[in-house]
Amino acid sequence: MDKKRIYIILTILFILLPLGLLTDYSAWGEWDNEVYKQMIGYIPEGIKNAQTFAIIPDYGEGSIVMYYLSALIGGGMLFGFFYLLTKMTKNETN
């Protein structure tokens, strides 16, 4: 497998990330609670009472810098996880 090319693709997509911020449309079903009020006249109990917890809510809520940073944090955590797991697995088998 050619690894170099996929690093290039990952870098290009990373640079293009702000394109993901262009739309104001939310995903279907992932609406603000107020939208339920408009659509059906009330906010269902479960949705109203939900506690949402996030360290960086909504990838920085529209800031380009935070969007880039979010991708770095997410990507970094994923690489970190696989790196550590590889090390641990190697130690187990040795």
Binding site: L10, S26, T52
Partner: protein, 214 residues
């Protein structure tokens, strides 16, 4: 397709975790078997790619948006268990750090987007392996199947109601299936297909040329 907290009834949450935990444990074992210094950079990169591709929100007519997932790609390049675990991990990070998808909905989101996307995509790919466009069809099928499972679970939520007033997600199958599955058939499935085909060709190009010249 990232279901937030508060959208699912407690019994849906419990059932989904009871189903997902054994799958996560088994998949994690499978991942450990395949993970070594050779495969690690690529599995890490493909997972990061899945995380990043989900940040490209694409607007569609009707006022909603969506994105590709990237589960099928990992499934066909490695195996579906690795696709399942990697994308589950992406969903875990999105949920805890960025509030994208509920923590209580993590099992449903993982079964829908990661498990179904990986396994349906993988078996469709196996069926068409000799065809050049197999990755496109596999990616399209994987995400459409994912959207079907998510629509199904969301669409049964009005069952839990108080005097006819839904307590959780209020729209039934008649709404969720056309909205979610329809938009994935027409738009996000195509994006997923192109993404899967493009990256697959890029990575496998050299081997393809070899295969074809024999």
């Amino acid at each position: 397709m990232h279901i937030p907290d508060g959208y699912l009834s407690p019994s849906t949450v419990l059932t989904s975790f009871a189903l997902a935990v054994p799958l996560w444990v088994y998949g994690f074992k499978k991942l450990k078997q395949s993970l070594n210094e050779e495969t690690m950079p690529l599995i890490g990169t493909l997972s990061a790619l899945s995380f990043i591709i989900m940040m490209f929100n694409i607007p569609i007519p009707g006022g909603t948006s969506g994105h590709a997932v990237g589960a099928t790609l990992i499934a066909i390049l490695f195996n579906p268990w690795i696709g399942f675990i990697s994308v589950s991990l992406v969903l875990l990070i999105q949920s805890i750090i960025f509030g994208d998808g509920g923590i209580s909905a993590l099992a449903v989101n993982s079964i829908g987007m990661a498990f179904i996307g990986s396994f349906v995509g993988y078996y469709i790919f196996k069926l068409l392996e000799t065809k050049k466009y197999a990755p496109f069809i596999a990616g399209w099928s994987g995400i459409v199947a994912s959207s079907f499972i998510i629509a199904l679970i969301l669409g049964i939520q009005p069952f839990w109601n108080e005097a006819g007033k839904p307590l959780y997600f209020p729209f039934d199958l008649k709404t969720t299936i056309p909205a979610l599955v329809g938009s994935h058939i027409l738009f996000f499935g195509i994006v997923e297909g192109i993404f899967t085909q493009l990256i697959y060709n890029t990575i496998r190009k050299k081997e393809w040329i070899k295969k074809e010249s024999i």
